[in-house]
Symmetry: C2
Subunit: 332 residues, 2 copies
């Protein structure tokens, strides 16, 4: 098992990316291929104790910026660390690829230039994993496809279910459809039609799920189009960060509440850790012909390490073969 | 100026609804028509000091439950407090209607049975007002219309802008379009087309707004279809309530953090008040031929009072006439 780490991915690359690769090699025993500017990577590696760790460096001459347009990088930067790294997976030299870089670029390079789609997958989906109360929920699509067809959403459900089985170890993942309530007239035409299609599959479809129900253990995989899914995760992030900022401001506004805040700090830190996306890892890109995990641009070394672990789990669970098989299965 | 309060609206009706009407009459000097079961209303009124307050009771024989289907109440409960109350507005006996009841039913009764649409309004929209840092942002549509056309969203922008002008006193409201980023390929076909239409209007259109930007003073009115808007507000509510619950649980988990929580309680209460929807009032229903404000089902007396104030402001600002005029204005 060997995982490619894009050394040029994160906003502060290559320092956190390289440090995360070292952490994964040390703590998880992972075999890592660090891909990117060789000189820059080696300058980072010397800052760490790497003796005995399974880390190799593969040079890539170009780096993709967060501001690069997905359509421009495919042909515009063919020597990018994403191109080189994903091709290592494609050629069987590695079992998975992780990057904290430009999501749109990674999606485009995976789909069109390197790994390509798994046969019969209509559209790959970007997923997001939310962890709450020790339980993981997979949301997809959260940004790859804005306008979707019911058939695509049904495939997202299949792929999400397979990810939950192979990478998260859930025997029978429950599939929910993101909607705004069960009441008459709720949901769009897309939702109504997708619900019909999901009922015809052999998936464990539990019906519509409202945003607050994501946290209430109703479903393990929640399906939406990429526009609504992206609005959802950005709303959750936005509300959480706003609320934490308000609390911080008000607590600091007086001496007694400041003292109170200090005494309650360990409690706050536990909450912060519970909702910290870095503890979970990254967003699996499902439907491309290889394990690809995309981390946050602001990833630190722990986040990168957790992405590596996530890629290893998906690869060990046989994610790609399972999707290849699951997506072509005739409807039950 | 006289406002109809649906006494049979809230989950705990008629107690909070009547208490809120009394509060509005006392604190704001409002003239109130309390509509609903006369006996039940009077049994509540005697619990309050109402001497000298401008409160009248209008009997309505039927009550709409939260579980009633919108399509069933229009003809099924023609004597409901919503029917009777909205007809008082329609007949010019009152200047606005507020209810903490079933939103779908209120929308249906307003649109189809009583007030009807303002001429040329394609679809009325339910709006939601978010208050943050002393600033109000109007989101619409948040649930009335799941599948929308670009022309409808453009009208939502016009109506939201007029509400911001007439009821919130903003001279030149900035209009944003809810989307998932500015990058290439972001947004749906609906978003792209609506952005084109908005650029052709005389509105102050500031472009796409991401969920976290709602709180960052970029726009005063944020437009979306009713499905996405509903997902948005439910996500914000869900994340906020989840986070507050997590913080409460962790703070109570040890003696030191419990003490800290006690010391910081005033700070928490200020945060809670800042994000409390009850402090704002309710959701204006825009596009129907009369001022209608829908409060939360869990409204208390303060929330009801704030809905009355909101209805008074909208009526005093000439909301309905301004929409009638604004919606028919030729494109600039």
């Amino acid at each position: 098992m060997r995982i490619v780490v894009d050394a040029m991915g994160s906003d502060a690359c290559p320092a956190p990316d390289v440090a995360g690769a070292v952490l994964a090699a040390r703590e998880l025993g992972s075999a890592i291929l660090l891909v990117g500017d060789e000189k820059a990577i080696k300058a980072e590696l010397v800052k760490h104790h790497t003796v005995g760790l399974k880390i190799d460096v593969v040079h890539a001459a170009e780096t993709i910026a967060m501001t690069d347009k997905p359509s421009a990088v495919i042909k515009g930067k063919p020597q990018s660390s994403m191109h080189v790294g994903m091709n290592l997976v494609k050629d069987g030299q590695a079992d998975g690829f992780i990057s904290a870089g430009n999501t749109g670029a990674a999606l485009a390079i995976a789909m069109l230039a390197t790994l390509k789609r798994i046969p019969n997958v209509e559209r790959p989906a970007l997923s997001s994993i939310v962890r709450i109360g020790g339980r993981s929920v997979i949301l997809l699509d959260v940004g790859a496809n804005a306008d979707c067809k019911p058939e695509w959403l049904t495939q997202f459900a299949v792929m999400g279910s397979i990810y939950a089985r192979t990478a998260l170890g859930l025997a029978k993942p429950r599939i929910g459809l993101l909607s705004n309530g069960e009441e008459e007239g709720k949901g769009t035409a897309l939702i109504h039609k997708t619900a019909e299609l999901l009922q015809e599959t052999s998936l464990t479809f539990v019906g519509n799920i409202e945003p607050r129900e994501i946290f209430e253990d109703h479903a393990d995989v929640i399906v939406s189009d990429g526009f609504v899914g992206n609005i959802l995760i950005k709303s959750l992030e936005g509300a959480t960060s706003l609320l934490l900022n308000l609390i911080r401001r008000e607590i600091r506004s007086g001496p007694l509440s400041t003292l109170g805040g200090l005494l309650a700090r360990p409690a706050f830190n536990r909450v912060r850790k519970e909702i910290d996306p870095f503890e979970i890892g990254g967003a699996p890109l499902l439907g491309v012909n290889g394990v690809v995990i995309i981390g946050h641009g602001r990833s630190n070394d722990v986040a990168i390490k957790n992405c590596v672990r996530q890629a290893e789990k998906a690869a060990a669970g046989g994610l790609i073969d399972a999707i290849r098989e699951g997506i072509t299965q005739p409807k039950v």
